[in-house]
């Protein structure tokens, strides 16, 4: 080993502690930060669809709605399909099937802004609201035709609406 190489070797040995010192004297800690945005997804107030007192042979119309509060995507369906809202005579078996003239969703109880085709809900998810939680109305407009032979009495039924998130 000549003088120069011995000097370089010694210099390297001297430099090593400084590197080790810098590495050893920095330590790191970490801690979490967290928040939650809750899912809002619930049906609210129902406005019943009432055709009132119908004279046999006449046709009546009615509208009804249900509020859904949501901040997520949703897909609606009508599990009873063609029998949605079927009215059955109380204490009897006679039925009346309303004809749904328009259905869909809207931001008010009276105006449909997103109509369902032939009152069949879309089979894709409606987008999540862009402005946080919204109160959306699911609206049904229907007519009810009766015959002269329709039995008198009170007819009741249910419109089943299913809402699913993804």
């Amino acid at each position: 080993m000549n003088r120069l190489s011995r000097f370089a070797f010694a210099a390297a040995l001297v430099a090593m502690p400084a590197i080790a010192q810098a590495q050893a004297q920095t330590i790191t800690g970490s801690i979490g930060a967290q928040a939650d945005i809750a899912t809002v997804f619930a049906f609210g107030t129902v406005t019943q669809m009432s055709f009132g007192s119908v004279v046999p042979g006449a046709t009546a119309t009615a509208t009804g709605n249900i509020i859904i509060n949501r901040n997520v995507k949703v897909m609606y369906s009508l599990p009873d399909a063609a029998a949605t809202g079927l009215l059955t005579l109380s204490g009897g078996t006679a039925t009346l099937q309303p004809t749904f003239t328009s259905c869909g969703t809207g931001s008010t109880a009276t105006t449909i802004t997103s109509a369902w085709t032939a009152c069949t809900p879309p089979t894709t998810y409606t987008a999540a609201p862009a402005t946080g939680t919204v109160s959306e109305y699911v609206i049904f407009n229907a007519s009810l035709s009766t015959a002269l032979t329709t039995l008198p009495g009170t007819y009741v039924g249910v419109i089943k609406v299913v809402a699913a998130t993804n």
Binding site: M16, I31, P129
Partner: protein, 158 residues
Amino acid sequence: MTPGRSGWLLAMLLLGSGVRTAAGQAGGSTTVVPVQQLTFGNLVPGMAEVVSVNDVGRRAMIALSGSNAVDVTFLLPAALESATGGRIPLQFSTADGGVLSSAVSLPVPMNPHESRRVLLAPDRVTHILLGGVALPAQGQPPGHYTARVVLLISQPGT
């Protein structure tokens, strides 16, 4: 190589080893323990949520113990993120940091955007505190959002 030269090199190696150990002791004697995470809780979309550095239940708290002066530096996250890619921006003001040197004292303000020298003492635990603001958007998707706040502790002069 003569015996004299061997002895000289051995001395150099021991010197190197000794400094490294001393440095290890200086760094190793400082311990960092996460105590409490920064918790914004349930947020309302479109409404900023503030966690004060004086909010005992929700501020971040990290315990330091040791016997040296250390430089404390935050690496602050820009946003909370969800598993589905959602982001909630975070803001940290110059008054959102704090140093609490004992259980009974009030925190000394600390700018979390700058390094701060803290004198640790062996007879007490020093807590580094952090508050902040979360800014969820109007249409913020539901979910659980998280981030990591990193604290660098270094010996002065390194």
